[in-house]
Symmetry: C2
Subunit: 349 residues, 2 copies
Amino acid sequence: MSLNANLTIALDVMGGDQGPFITISSAIMAISHQPNLHLILCGDESIIAENLAHHKISKTDLKSHKQLSLFATTQIVSMEDKPIVALRTKKDSSMRKALDLVHEGKAQACVSAGNTGALFSMAHFVLKNLPGVERPALISSLPTHDKDKHVFMLDLGANVFCDSHVLYQFGVMGSVMAEQVDCISKPRIALLNMGEEAIKGSDHIKLAALELSENKDINYVGFIEGCDIFSNKADVIVCDGFVGNVALKTCEGVARLVYEKSKATFKASLLSKLFGSLLKPSFKKLFKTMNPDQYNGASLIGLRGIVVKSHGNANSDAFFAAIMEAVKEVERQVPEKIKQSLEHGFSAR
Amino acid sequence: MSLNANLTIALDVMGGDQGPFITISSAIMAISHQPNLHLILCGDESIIAENLAHHKISKTDLKSHKQLSLFATTQIVSMEDKPIVALRTKKDSSMRKALDLVHEGKAQACVSAGNTGALFSMAHFVLKNLPGVERPALISSLPTHDKDKHVFMLDLGANVFCDSHVLYQFGVMGSVMAEQVDCISKPRIALLNMGEEAIKGSDHIKLAALELSENKDINYVGFIEGCDIFSNKADVIVCDGFVGNVALKTCEGVARLVYEKSKATFKASLLSKLFGSLLKPSFKKLFKTMNPDQYNGASLIGLRGIVVKSHGNANSDAFFAAIMEAVKEVERQVPEKIKQSLEHGFSAR
C-alpha cells in the first residue's frame, strides 16, 4: 500500500447495533494496522471517552493522539428513524457530522454501521452526485467458488428501479471499483438477467447491454443468471437495487437455512452428532464468510466522497474491514477515477 | 386422496435432458403408486417401445394396458429451440401434442421436462388464460426452516414485468394453490420487497399490497424480504417473474457454493476428511432437497388446464414428483378454483 500523508477517515462511532463498543475496538485495530491513518471519532464525548478507557486511552491521551481525534456530537440516528426525518432533524448526529467532515475536506471518507436509509439520504444530500452520475449505487463484494476471487455486485438497494442508462453507469462505476480496489485489469462486467440469451429480460436491460458493449473501455461479457453469481464468470455484476437487494438477502436466507439444516443433519444420529460437533467450528466459519452483507462493508459509490456502510450487527472484525475498505478507496482515489471513466465513456460514444 | 375415475395425464415423454430414459421410469412409478391414474405417453413410437421394454412392457402389452397408452409424435422440441420457432414449426412434437390433449379434454393435465420457454408459449397459445386472468404464472414450492412446511413462490419467470393488478392476481392464484394443494386454511400471502416497511419498494408493489389487503378472502400479511423467504412467515410469496427467477436461481447458486465450500472444509485436514466422508451422503441428500427447482415441479397456473414443468435434468424421482403434483392439481380442480376466486375477488371489491 502506498503511504498517504493525509489519510483521514471520519467514523460514525454511534452507528450499529452495539455502537461504540464495536466501532471503537475496530478503530484501535485500524490505527495499529495502518500507521499513517488518522481517524476522527464522531459521537458522544463521554461515551467515546469511556470506551477509549477500555483500550487504555485517557482523555488527555486523546488530545495529543497522533492517529485519533474527537468530534463531539449530541444526536444519534436510530435504526428506526425514517431517512427524511433523520435528514431534517438530526443535523448534529454522529452520522451527519462524519459526512459533513468529508464534504468539508477534513476527512476523505466516512464509515458508518448506522441506519442504511438515513445514511443514503444524508450522504446524497451532503456530498452530492459526481458530475454526470445519475444515481449513486450500493456496491459490495461476494464470495465465489474460487477462494481467491470475489465478485462485486451493484446496486444492492440504493435505487428501486434503474433505467438502461443508470444500469450502464453502474457497469462503468463497478468496472472502476474492480480495477482500482482489486487491481483487476479489464474487469469482466455482466448484467444480471433471467437468462443468458440476448432475447431474455426487459427492454431496459437489453438497452443497457447495448450501451455497455459500445463502450470500448468496458469489458462487457453479457448476461448472467442468479445461479452463476458465484461462478467467477464476471468480476462485476450489475442489476437494479430491487433485484440486487432481493438477491443479496436471499443469499443470507439460504445460507441460514443450509446452516440450520446442516445442524439437523449433524444431530440425526449419534455417529453424525459426534462427527458434527468436531466439524461445527469449521462450518460456523464457513457460513460467516458466506454472509457478504455482514462480513464486508458495502460502499456507496457515485458521490463526491467515499462512504462505506458496515452491517448494523457487524462485529469488530467486520467494522475493521469496512474501515480498511475506505482506506483502499481513498488511496486509489475511486471517486476521481469514476468521474474520469464516465467522462471518457461519454466522449468515446 | 379421493379416487377419480377419469384421472388422465399427458406426458411429454421426449422432454428433459435424458428424455424417455427418465420419463418412462417415472411413468411406471406413478401408475403403480396411483392405481386410478392413466398416462398418455406422447413421443416417438419406437423409442417409447424400446424404453418400455426395459420395464418388461411389450408393444402388445401396451395396446391393452389399463393405465398406459401411446400417442405417437414425430417431432421433438429441443432445449435450443426458440419459443416462437417451436410454436410455429413443431406442431407434431411430443410437447405440443401433450398440450393439445389437455385442450381437447382427452387429458386433464400435461407434464413436461422440456424447453421452458417453448412450453410457456405453447401452453399459453393452446390452452389460453382463464377468464379474467391477465397473466399465467410459474409457481413452485421451496423448503422452510420448519421441515414440515414449505412456501409457494410465484412468479418464477413466466413474466418479466408485472403491474400491481397482475401481482394482485398472483396473490389470489397462489392462495388457491396453497389452500387446495396443501390444504392450508387462510394461507398467509406476502409480497417480496426490499424491506418490510410500508414505504419500501416500487409504486406497483405498494398498489398490489393495497389491492390484496382489500380482498377479504385473502390473508395478506405484508412485505417480506429475501432473507425471510425460508422463515415460514408466509405460505405464498408473490413477486414479478424477473425477481422470482433471480431469487430462485440465486438459491441454487448459494446452495452449490455452500456445498463446494463444505467439501473443501471436509478435506481441510485428515481428521475432517475422515468425518466428512462419513457425513457426505447426508449432505448430498440435504443439498438435493435444497434445490427446489430441480426437486419439485413448477406449475404454470392461470391457464384453462394444468401444466406442470419438471426441471430439464430432473431424475426419475423428480419427474415422478412432477406427475404426482399434476395428479393433486387435477383432484383439487385448481384451475376451476382459481377462476372462482378471481371472480369472487372482483365482485367483492
